[in-house]
């Protein structure tokens, strides 16, 4: 049993995202840190944010981010600090600069085009005969009621 414990302790690699020792005492600051770290990608992982990742680098980045916040950085400053060092690759929400504008505009533009095409297609259809006149409606009611 003792040996098992030892083996487990030795083999236990960091398996966790945010660990208790990282958490800041100030809950407001900690909330900001959590929020921001969900938008930052762990550079060595496969598509995980530093908030979810178990990698050592992710842990270091989480601590670094918290240090910046404690030092009084605004959210943007803290994120910029990390982007300046690891590149825009770490941003899970790509910015709107340059070509990225295409990414952000593509869907709304597509929606407008599709709605336009759909609308003209519906309008172009042969028009239907006029709706029932009031007399016809009354007559229909009479038939239905009997």
């Amino acid at each position: 049993m003792k040996r098992l414990t030892l083996i487990l302790a030795l083999l236990a690699s960091p398996l966790w995202a945010v660990e208790p020792d990282e958490i800041l005492d100030d809950p407001v600051l900690e909330d900001r840190a959590r929020e921001l770290s969900q938008g930052l990608r762990c550079p060595v992982c496969q598509n995980e944010s530093i908030d979810e990742s178990n990698a050592t680098l992710a842990k270091e980045l989480r601590i670094l981010l918290r240090e910046r916040l404690v030092a009084g950085d605004t959210d943007d400053q803290a994120v910029d600090f990390i982007v300046a060092r690891y590149g825009e690759f770490v941003l899970l929400r790509p910015d709107t600069s340059g070509a990225n504008l295409i990414l952000w505009i593509a869907a709304p533009a597509m929606l407008l085009v599709a709605l336009g095409i759909g609308w003209t297609a519906i309008r172009r259809k042969k028009t239907l005969p006029e709706a029932l006149s009031d007399e016809e409606k009354a007559e229909l009611e009479k038939i239905l009621d009997t």
């Binding site: 098992l4 487990l8 690699s13 660990e19 598509n47 995980e48 899970l92 990414l103 869907a107 599709a114």
Partner: protein, 658 residues
């Protein structure tokens, strides 16, 4: 010896598929009945051979035949039997064989249930279906052969990735593949119709059950995958907008659009060319998914077999089939003339709006998924597109869809009036807003997510109920209730699936908005409160499992003086794969899940413990199950069950008014 027979059967099936591609197609062209008739037995033989081959591989895994390279790389004698079996498709080669098994199964089903189809169309459908099989047989045999032997068989295997040693692996991939591959039948129908140059109401009726079945399986497969991630990854996330998840989500969205537009073809003979295009795109996205998962072009948590050469081959298959079908479409689409006429306010228009929203939301997922690739190749920028983008760009479309769904589904065909629909729905609208306001008042904090989820959920579910109610005519309410019970199953299917959609929307919003998290260091004996519950770490034990070592905690959950449950989260270590995993312990409930994870022992004593309260978590998957169930109802409708092509024997009066 058996393994060689399995290998041989696979090659034979490849040969049969080639014959089935060419002979019936030529036969249909020349009007040769005997040549066309070859398609059905060929499809059956192809399936039987592939099934035999698959059974042989399974047998090799069950008996731990390490002379097979694949078994050596992915199995171990200590592994529990269920994971020896599921391990067959827990790797690239084996999963491709499963893909082939399902592909040929669908081919055979199309042959067996195709009695009602015109001979010529049927021959063409089966030939196109076989041509898809040809491409993938070639892919399996030449690049991903599961039957390769090792010269010197090792004593034991290298074990399966521990994350995959989970019941989730037993069901998640087979359901997903049933969905992906099921769409190949819709594709074959579309291409065959393009070759024929004819699409009519009957075609819409034939293609719909296949699409419906594929969509249903895809729904279940995606839900299972999401649930698996929820309990396995250790922090209760259920959707990550990962490229591989997106790969399964895109065909789902398009298939959803397709099965709605096929209704319009069937009932009103409109939207024909658009429906054909959707059928082509749906399978195209399935192929794109296969490419994303197996090429490693996009990094993902769960892509396997990252091999550029294989990726290249799938890309070629994708280009040939999608490109070929779209070219054919460009030439023939004009032949599909719409017959049905409808006014601006009508069910047809509403379904067009449904299709636009689904197709554009699929486009959002698509562009977000491939953008990192595009940005790197064209703009030399290495960037990421993650959940924050998708949350912002995708959600509005789903909100829009949920808003128009009840209105659209209640409108009459051909010409509807908004007043009538509005009258039927106004009560539900008021209730939805009232409950959202209540949720806003009760919740802590002022996030809009929860209340919006409540409003949309109530609105969509209520809309589906109102739809059923309206279908019951004008009478005393007891008569109407009885009549609702007798409505065609397709109507029940529609209502159930729409209710499921409402439930899922509510579940997602409620869980994201109102979940609670607690991370702390606890000593054995400590007791602490999270939300309305108290937790106590009673003990931490360590022992050995079948093929792993584990640290298991006993955490009792209390509500006041009453013990609600005893949870046993684990931290496992798999020595053969040299890999740790977390096994969360979850107490499932209708109103909330209690989710507990045990972490590392701390330097200063005690254990790291995480507790999550996830309100309404199970509603997410419950809604998905309802959606799939709706598909089942609809599939069992009389109209689809009896020979669809049989000429109408009944008078139009017996057909339910819709």
């Amino acid at each position: 010896m058996l393994v060689e027979l399995g290998h041989f059967a696979l090659i034979l099936a490849f040969g049969v598929a080639i014959v089935q591609t060419i002979v019936p197609m030529v036969g249909a062209h020349r009007g040769n009945a005997a040549w066309m008739a070859l398609a059905e037995p060929a499809a059956t033989v192809q399936f039987l051979l592939t099934a035999f081959s698959f059974a042989v591989l399974t047998w090799a895994f069950v008996t731990s035949d390490f002379s097979l390279q694949l078994v050596y790389l992915n199995s171990h004698t200590d592994k529990p039997m269920i994971y020896k079996i599921t391990g067959v498709w827990g790797n690239h080669e084996g999963s491709m064989l499963l893909w082939m098994l399902i592909l040929t199964l669908f081919g055979a089903l199309a042959a067996w249930f195709g009695d009602g189809l015109p001979t010529r169309l049927r021959a063409r459908v089966l030939a196109v279906q076989a041509s898809i099989a040809v491409a993938f047989f070639a892919f399996v045999i030449f690049t991903s052969n599961p039957f390769l032997r090792l010269e010197v068989p090792p004593l034991n295997g290298r074990d399966l990735n521990p994350l995959l040693q989970d019941p989730g692996l037993a069901f998640h991939p087979p359901f997903l593949y049933l969905g992906y591959v099921g769409l190949s039948v819709s594709f074959s129908f579309a291409v065959a119709a393009l070759i024929e140059g004819r699409v009519d109401a009957a075609w819409g009726r034939w293609v719909r059950p296949w699409t419906l079945a594929a969509w249903m399986f895809l729904t279940v497969g995606i839900a299972l995958g999401s649930w698996w991630a929820y309990y396995e990854l250790g922090w209760g996330g259920f959707w990550f907008w990962d490229p591989v998840e997106n790969a399964s989500f895109m065909p789902w969205l398009i298939a959803a659009a397709l099965l709605h537009s096929a209704i319009v073809v069937e009932k009103r003979e409109a939207l024909k060319s658009w429906t054909i295009l959707l059928a082509i795109l749906a399978f195209g996205f399935s192929l794109l998914g296969a490419f994303i998962v197996r090429s490693g072009v996009l990094t993902s948590v769960h892509a396997f077999a990252n091999d550029p050469e294989r990726g290249m081959l799938i890309l070629i298959i994708l280009a040939v089939y999608l490109g070929g079908a779209l070219t054919l479409f460009a030439f023939r689409a004009r032949a599909m003339e719409a017959k049905g006429v409808f006014s601006t306010v009508s069910r047809e228009s509403a379904l067009i709006l449904n299709n636009i929203l689904l197709a554009v939301s699929c486009f959002v997922v698509f562009i977000g998924t491939i953008w990192p690739l595009v940005a790197e190749i064209m703009f030399d920028r290495t960037l990421s597109v993650g959940p924050p983008f998708f949350d912002a760009a995708f959600t509005p479309f789903m909100v829009g869809l949920a808003i128009v769904l009840p209105l659209g589904s209640i409108l009459a065909w051909k010409r509807g009036t908004l007043e009538r629909a509005g009258k039927a729905l106004i009560g539900w609208l008021i209730l939805a807003i009232a409950l959202a306001a209540l949720a806003y008042a009760v919740q802590s904090g002022n996030s809009a997510l929860g209340p919006i989820g409540v409003a949309l959920g109530v609105w969509v579910v209520g809309g589906a109920l109102a739809d059923l109610w309206m279908r019951s005519g004008r009478d005393h309410w007891t008569v109407r209730l009885r009549r609702i019970g007798r409505l065609p199953r397709a109507d029940w299917g529609k209502a159930t699936a729409h209710i499921g959609m409402g439930v899922t929307i509510f579940g997602v919003a409620a869980m994201l908005a109102w979940e609670k998290e607690d991370i702390r260091i606890a000593d054995v004996g400590d007791r602490w409160a999270v939300g309305q519950f108290e937790f106590q770490l009673d003990d931490v034990r360590q022992f050995q499992g079948p093929n792993y070592l584990t640290t298991m905690a006993d955490i009792s959950v209390w509500r006041g003086d009453r013990q609600v449950s005893m949870l046993n989260p684990e931290k496992r270590f798999y020595p053969v794969a040299n890999m740790p995993t977390t096994e969360a312990a979850i107490s499932n409930g209708i109103l909330r899940d209690v989710y507990v994870v045990i972490g590392d022992p701390q330097a200063g004593g005690g254990w790291a413990v995480r507790v999550y309260l996830k309100p309404f978590a199970n509603w997410i998957w419950g809604g998905a199950i309802l959606m799939a169930l709706g598909g089942c109802f609809s599939l069992s409708d009389r109209r689809l069950r009896i020979g669809a092509a049989a000429p109408k024997k009944t008078t139009p009066k017996a057909v339910p008014a819709e």
